[in-house]
């Protein structure tokens, strides 16, 4: 065993494992991670507890093996953008998107900040957030947990939250599900009676107070908040030696 494996897990490595957990028991579906830490997490899940996952090269190819970030691979299939969009409607996908803003109901915004008709800051546009959230499980990754991201009300609902889906009727709720939100501070879900955000675990070294302080809305906090689980020695080895030897994860989540 190398020296790297014997050192304690970094915050970024807890985040990788928490992201990987999103795809546990997902079955034979496409894992679509957005961002460095979720990408490493999806590959870790495939190499360990979710071997049936489909992964892409980030463009049009399905990967038949699990290479390190950016390296070549066996190709097992073809998935150009048009099929990607059609696949979303089949439901055989679990995406982990980013969020410029997210609220307590799970509404997410990547479109713009401020009034849509003349935004103070134009971002990407809604992209595929509406189709994703209405058709298959959609989780979120927030590398810097703050009140600017975790807001009372998002400026433009790109990804649909539980309240908005319910208001839009049965065709909207039928396949709508937001399993998890992972940030650099902890893991969150919507396992509350009114489907609002709940703190599920804090990463080791993070206090519950830190999380509520950095959250711009009232978060449901259980009496006992567990710590995010430890990576296994094998997982740490895979992250450090196989999946991300360059340490790109530490740039997205600094120690």
């Amino acid at each position: 065993m190398s020296d790297g494996v014997t050192t304690a897990a970094t915050r970024a490595e807890y985040c990788v494992v928490a992201c990987a957990e999103v795809w546990r028991d997902a079955g034979e579906v496409l894992a679509s991670p957005m961002g460095t830490v979720p990408a490493i997490g999806a590959r870790l899940a495939r190499l360990t507890f979710s071997p049936e996952l489909l992964l892409t090269d980030g463009e049009a190819l399905l990967l038949g093996d699990v290479p390190a970030s950016g390296s070549g691979a066996v190709v097992e299939g073809w998935l150009p953008y048009r099929q990607h969009l059609a696949l979303a409607a089949t439901g055989r996908r679990h995406i982990m998107m980013g969020a410029s803003q997210i609220d307590r109901h799970g509404n997410q915004n990547i479109s713009c900040i401020g009034d849509w008709s003349r935004p103070s800051r134009q971002l990407l546009g809604v992209r595929g957030a509406p189709v994703n959230t209405l058709n298959h499980p959609t989780s979120y990754w927030v590398p810097r947990h703050s009140r600017r991201v975790f807001v009372e009300r998002v400026d433009m609902v790109s990804g649909v939250g539980y309240d908005r889906a319910a208001a839009a009727g049965p065709a909207a709720t039928r396949y709508h599900r937001i399993p998890e939100v992972v940030s650099d501070l902890g893991v969150f879900d919507f396992a509350t009676p009114d489907r609002t955000m709940r703190l599920r675990s804090v990463h080791p070294g993070v206090t519950v107070g830190q999380v509520t302080e950095a959250t711009g809305f009232a978060l449901t906090v259980p009496d006992e908040v567990p710590c995010t689980r430890e990576p296994t020695p094998d997982e740490l080895r895979l992250i450090r030696e196989v999946l991300d030897p360059e340490g790109l994860r530490e740039r997205e989540v600094p120690a």
Binding site: P119, Q122, A129, V131, V157
Partner: protein, 298 residues
């Protein structure tokens, strides 16, 4: 009998009119018909409604004030996430936007190609896409499920511009990279479509490059074919070339500052396509020399 549809980029633009709804193929900063967009920049055609999986095509046309209205799900340069000209146009309130979900966009193009008024999609329900575009409507299933879905409206186009790797003079277009994007749909959704390509080849040679499934665009949907080598620059055109990342970075940097943008326009966009390609070649050489000098000095 062969109908020769080959023409110049200027002739293509000569067939476009101000006020048209114009579809632009490619995706983000990938295989965009940039030489045709540059020809458009040199023309008087303006007041356009642009329908695009937006990239620097949208940025350049927005910077030139040629877009009245944009129909898009996003605008991105891929390796540079946010398109600076698009951002500026939105933040200055200079651009009317119909912001759609990517799937609504795909099925809207499909509806137009199939001559249908709309396609039912789940995407959009509950999102603010419906709030900010109050003209969007829902449709209720006549079957037992009774589901109320979004009626993604047909995105019918007056004209489409796409760029492919190869084409023949009759208008059969071929892509050789990993992704066709949506270029066939753009052509089928348009009253007139113009294909630029890296190289015009004999019909008999099309299959020498790759299998029949690469023959993406069919000639009944094409009105003009333009040979524009490096015509997708600075976006990618795999496998002929990748994205020119250093040049795209220079574009994005210049786009953030009015003074720098004037200098960029002067150097790269004030002449014809040959001038552009020559200016890019000279810039690339300068950048390489500068990098070498910096490395040698370090």
């Amino acid at each position: 009998m062969t109908t020769d549809k080959s023409m110049t980029a200027e002739e293509v633009v000569g067939r476009l009119e101000s006020g048209m709804t114009l579809g632009i193929g490619g995706w983000g900063s990938r295989r965009k018909p940039m030489a045709l967009v540059r020809a458009l920049l040199r023309s008087d055609v303006t007041d356009l409604t642009v329908v695009s999986y937006g990239g620097p095509d949208v940025g350049l046309l927005a910077a030139a004030g040629k877009i009245r209205k944009l129909v898009a799900a996003f605008v991105t340069l891929d390796s540079v996430p946010l398109e600076p000209h698009f951002r500026a146009a939105r933040e200055n309130g200079r651009l009317e936007l119909t912001e759609l979900d990517e799937a609504m966009f795909l099925w809207g193009l499909t509806a137009a190609a199939q001559r249908l008024p709309f396609m039912p999609v789940r995407a959009g329900l509950g999102s603010d896409v419906m709030r900010v575009n109050p003209a969007l409507r829902t449709v209720t299933s006549p079957y037992g499920d009774g589901e109320e879905l979004v009626a993604a409206p047909a995105l019918r186009l007056d004209a489409a511009l796409v760029h492919l790797n190869r084409a023949d003079v009759r208008g059969n277009g071929q892509y050789l990279g990993p992704d066709p994007y949506f270029d066939d749909l753009f052509c089928e959704a348009a009253d007139a479509a113009y294909v630029s390509c890296e190289r015009i080849v004999d019909s008999a040679d099309l299959l020498k490059a790759d299998g029949p499934q690469t023959l993406l665009v069919k000639r009944p949907f094409v009105n003009g074919v333009v040979e524009t080598p490096n015509g997708a620059h600075f976006t990618s055109c795999a496998p002929d070339y990748g994205r020119d990342e250093p040049f795209q970075r220079a574009y994005a940097k210049a786009a953030r500052d009015p003074e720098e943008w004037r200098a960029f326009t002067e150097r790269f966009l004030s002449g014809d396509e040959d001038n552009y390609q020559a200016a890019v070649a000279a810039w690339t050489k300068e950048a390489a020399v500068a990098a070498f000098t910096k490395e040698a000095g370090a």
